[in-house]
């Protein structure tokens, strides 16, 4: 403690401490003189002797200062001032270095903040490590896990001991209307057990959440709004609690509003309803109808693994107890946070890796720039070292100067990060807890850490290189020798090789992702995708309860849509191609051998009107499409199946004419009348067996209208007229996702494009930096070897030869870097394998293109310095040193 106080005093009250030392030494001096005078020595002589005895006052003071241990602080301050002056004198270098660092540090901070906010930051709930989500094993026993049915949830709730509470969450959409003049809109909703919010530990921002009484079929209809919806649609109305809104035409009372930070599970969910009020009792009891997410809080002291294995055991017993039910053979529990980040985790880590490469490249570049400066001053440094200057002092100087630069870069980089973050978060609304992404103290600490890292690396490498034993060589006139120049450039060449290697890795990664994205985009969906306008709607049960009502709506909509001017085709399908899996069901084939218990036949179900297939260019392979007349009785309808379904379930036989019974309520019976081509439900998954039911069977309550314009007309002009048609039929019916098929495909490949573009952007940054570095290195080499070039030319070397020599000198480290990079790139490509679609990790085309690009850019960068070398005048060269 005294030590610290002394040091502080020495630093802060410097002049006072100096004065004290001065006085003390003077006192000693005078006392010595007095003593000698007392012994009879002449005063003048005594003073001379005393002065001799002291030696150098300054040196004593210096040693005292050293003993006080403040040397470091003083020297650092000195270095800072000196570094600042010297950086100001070379503005070009300073600006380039700062910009490079700003870029590197800025993007790294931005990405780290995102990774930290999305992946590492726990959910915003109290004790989030106790929150788990529960999954049931897939019925098909393929190792995957599935959402849970209401009946199974009930079984778990009764039997499981590891959990404090459990709650169900169901997904849905609803048509929101009924507030004066505002247009109806389709919003994402969630239905949950009344205790969900208490499990999560969320307090209401206004009003209250559901109580047990609200969570029942006969309760008053209640709803809880998210903060975002309340702000956006109801203008932050302070009196919202108690007001009524219309969902699908039915009245709901708003009982509460969630706090602003609650954006679970993501920003697309706008309001919450009690599940038992929205879902039928039959569905809640059904064990086979899988539709719910389950969230639970672990009991204190129970680990996730223990809970998971208990749940698995319960479900296994359950499965044995009810063998006829459509249930999985096991279950598991996993952390809630895990579930949310699963899809974005890997791409984010890949981006983080890419951005780390950029940082390294930036560091190496700055180190390279520093090497240039430092080598120019090597004689001065050698002289200092010869006069007794400590090596560490020189290194300290270099590192201080480089830290000045990196702190400047770090400051600007933080600004860049802030801007980048706002842009990125606005772009990706699907990132979980996007609200948590902001520059907090972790991000700033990270920035600080990498700033220091960069500064030390960029300053240390050159400093170490220059203060090695070559000092002696530098003092000697070795500048004329080839060996001297090449030796000094060795570190710079190594740095450049590393830069090029990293750039190549980035280029390969970016190239692979880009090719993957382009493959995804150009996947053959199996149907027409250009000039097709689509829009979606959901028929609410309140107005369209029976199948007939729904069928009538569809028929009327088609009639009106087809009557619109400029419309060539209009059709309705329940789920658009590429929109996802959505709806599947088990079925039985009449006349086929029954499957052993526990095995099922399952296929995706779609509904369409008869003209849909022709309109969407889905080929009819055999038989015919169902027609209006086919609807004879409820248990005697017609359907078509896809080729893949025919192959999977009827291999070898002719499916046409066979009858299927779908295991739905009422077990409707269908005759297969035709086979159509396959259409992808998801762009990046293989085809799934699908059956198409006639739309007029009215079974499905949601649909997408598909519109094609007559020749020469832009189909997007039909958007508004079509919406008006639907609004004319039912003003409370909201239309969602009015997009062309092209736009839909674009949206679903958005994140793949995003990843590819970002990585390529980083790669280009790296490439630019490496090219600049190469140019600088070769210019330096040419200058250094001017003398040697002069000699060669005087001895008869041609200009072309000289140019070639310098060219190769520059290309050698690049070539080596390219080889290392290709190898490393191949290794890294394996790591991102799961992100690639339709592309092998080691894709010859990409690798070849990358190699060509890097070589091309390198040659361009070497061009000017090499040409300059060839233009050297031998006479001037020989004369200069």
């Amino acid at each position: 403690m005294r030590d610290l106080r002394m040091r502080m005093r020495a630093v802060l009250r410097r002049s006072e401490v100096e004065r004290e030392m001065e006085e003390e030494l003077r006192f000693h001096f005078e006392a010595q003189v007095q003593k000698m005078v007392g012994e009879g020595v002449d005063r003048g002589e005594a003073m001379r002797l005393a002065r001799l005895a002291i030696g150098g006052t300054e040196q004593i003071k210096e040693e005292c200062r050293d003993a006080r241990g403040v040397r470091l602080v003083e020297t650092v301050w000195q270095d800072v001032r000196y570094g600042w002056r010297s950086l100001r004198k070379s503005p070009g270098f300073t600006v380039v270095a700062i910009l490079t660092l700003t870029l590197g540090i800025g993007v790294n901070t931005a990405l780290f903040t995102i990774v930290h906010g999305v992946l590492l930051n726990p959910l915003p709930f109290p004790r989030p490590e106790r929150l788990v989500s529960l999954w049931e094993k897939n019925v098909l026993d393929d190792g995957q896990f599935n959402v849970v049915s209401g009946g199974v949830f009930g079984d778990w709730q009764k039997q499981a001991k590891s959990f404090e509470q459990m709650a169900l969450v169901g997904e849905g959409t609803a048509n929101l209307s009924g507030d004066g003049g505002a247009l109806p809109e389709s919003i994402g909703t969630r239905q949950c057990s009344f205790n969900l919010f208490s499990i999560l530990g969320v307090p209401p921002a206004m009003g209250r959440f559901f109580a047990k009484e609200d969570d029942g079929p006969s309760a008053t209809a209640t709803v809880v709004l998210t903060n975002a919806l309340w702000k956006r649609r109801y203008g932050s109305d302070p009196g919202i609690v108690g007001k009524t809104i219309l969902l699908d035409g039915r009245k709901y009372t708003v009982i509460g509003v969630l706090p602003a930070w609650f954006d679970y599970p993501d920003a697309r969910v706008q309001l919450w309803q009690p599940v038992r009020h929205e879902v039928s009792e039959a569905d809640m009891r059904s064990r086979g109808n899988h539709r719910f997410f389950v969230t639970a809080r672990l009991k204190d002291g129970v680990s996730v693994e223990k809970a998971s294995s208990e749940l698995n055991g319960i479900q296994q017993r359950n499965h044995r107890q009810f063998p006829g039910e459509l249930m999985g053979k096991g279950a598991r529990a996993e952390l809630l946070s895990e579930d949310l980040v699963r899809d974005v985790r890997e791409p984010l880590y890949v981006l983080l890796g890419a951005v780390g490469c950029v940082l390294l490249i930036a560091c190496l570049n700055v180190a390279n720039l520093f090497m240039a400066r430092v080598t120019a001053r090597r004689k001065e440094i050698a002289v200092r070292a010869a006069l007794g200057g400590s090596r560490w002092r020189i290194i300290q100087e270099r590192v201080t100067e480089s830290l000045l630069l990196t702190f400047a870069g770090g400051g600007l980089g933080t600004l860049l990060a802030w801007v980048t973050l706002r842009w990125l978060v606005a772009l990706r609304a699907d990132l979980p807890h996007a609200g948590a992404i902001h520059l907090d103290r972790f991000a700033l600490a990270f920035t600080f850490a990498i700033t220091i890292f960069c500064g030390v690396v960029a300053g240390l490498l050159p400093a170490l290189a220059v203060t090695r034993n070559e000092l002696v060589g530098a003092l000697k006139e070795e500048s004329r020798s080839m060996a001297g120049a090449q030796g000094r450039a060795r570190l710079r060449k190594v740095l450049l090789t590393a830069e090029v290697a990293l750039t190549v890795v980035l280029l390969i990664g970016g190239g692979l992702l880009l090719k993957s994205f382009s493959q995804l985009r150009s996947v053959n969906m199996g149907c027409k995708t250009d000039d097709v306008l689509t829009m979606g709607f959901t028929l609410p049960e309140s107005k369209y309860e029976t199948d007939t009502q729904r069928a009538e709506f569809f028929a009327e909509l088609l009639r009106r849509a087809r009557a619109m001017p400029g419309v060539k085709e209009a059709s309705i399908v329940s789920v658009l191609p590429g929109a996802g899996h959505f709806f599947d069901n088990t079925f039985q084939i009449e006349g086929a051998a029954p499957l052993p218990p526990g095995q099922f036949r399952n296929a995706v179900i779609r509904g369409a009107d008869p003209d849909y297939f022709a309109a969407m260019h889905i080929p009819l392979k055999r038989g015919r499409i169902f027609a209006e007349e086919d609807h004879r009785a409820a248990d005697d309808n017609a359907m078509v199946i896809t080729e893949s379904m025919a192959k999977e379930f009827f291999d070898g036989e002719d499916p046409i004419g066979k009858h299927l019974k779908i295991e739905w309520q009422g077990a409707p019976r269908f005759e297969i009348v035709g086979i159509v081509g396959d259409v992808l439900s998801d762009l990046d998954r293989p085809v799934e067996p699908t059956m198409y039911l006639p739309l007029n069977s009215g079974r499905l309550e949601y649909g997408s209208l598909v519109v094609m314009a007559s020749a020469g007309r832009d189909v997007t002009t039909q958007a508004l007229p079509m919406q008006k048609v639907i609004a004319g039929m039912n003003p409370d019916l909201a239309v969602s996702d009015v997009l062309t098929m092209e736009e839909r495909i674009g949206k679903s490949t958005e994140s793949a494009m995003f990843d590819a573009v970002l990585v390529l952007l980083f790669a280009v940054m790296g490439l630019v930096l490496a090219a600049v570095g190469l140019y600088g290195l070769l210019s330096y080499l040419v200058t250094e070897r001017t003398n040697e070039i002069g000699i060669r030319m005087a001895l008869g070397a041609q200009r072309g030869e000289v140019m070639q020599i310098m060219f190769l000198d520059g290309l050698r480290p690049t070539g080596l870097g390219l080889l290392v990079g290709l190898f490393a790139g191949g290794v890294c490509a394996q790591l991102i394998r799961s992100l690639l679609f339709g592309v092998e990790p080691v894709d010859a085309q990409i690798f070849a293109v990358v190699a060509a690009v890097v070589l091309g850019i390198s040659m361009a960068a070497c061009m000017y310095p090499a040409w300059r070398a060839a233009r050297v005048d031998p006479m001037t060269a020989l004369r200069c040193e």
Partner: protein
């Protein structure tokens, strides 16, 4: 690093000078000049401590917390910086003295039998 002694030409290691200073301050506080004079006298004029060694040593000892300094009036009413032992300084003195005695005896034994 050896300390230079005028005349005697004996190099004292740093630690030994510290020990001597601590011992000199044991009876009471003194200023730098007095310390160097006292060491000179008590060692029968063999050891002469120069400013160049004395003052850095004093600063070092002060930093370690074994002595503390204050300004006061000297014998002839001049301002001087007086140093005195702290409690931990006294403990350190005892410890170092013991060590020195042991070391000296051991060295003597080795030299004696060599």
């Amino acid at each position: 690093m050896g300390e230079q002694m005028a005349g005697a030409g004996i190099d004292l290691p740093q630690g030994t000078l510290d020990l001597l200073i601590l011992r000199t301050l044991a009876p009471g506080a003194q200023h730098g000049w007095a310390i160097s004079e006292r060491i000179h006298q008590v060692s029968s004029k063999v050891l002469q401590v120069r400013q160049g060694s004395l003052y850095p040593a004093l600063h070092r000892l002060e930093r370690r917390g074994w002595i503390k300094a204050r300004w006061g009036a000297s014998e002839n009413n001049r301002k001087a910086k007086y140093y005195e032992l702290t409690k931990s300084g006294r403990k350190q003195l005892e410890a170092e003295q013991d060590e020195w005695v042991k070391l000296a005896a051991a060295v003597a034994r080795v030299l004696g039998t060599a």
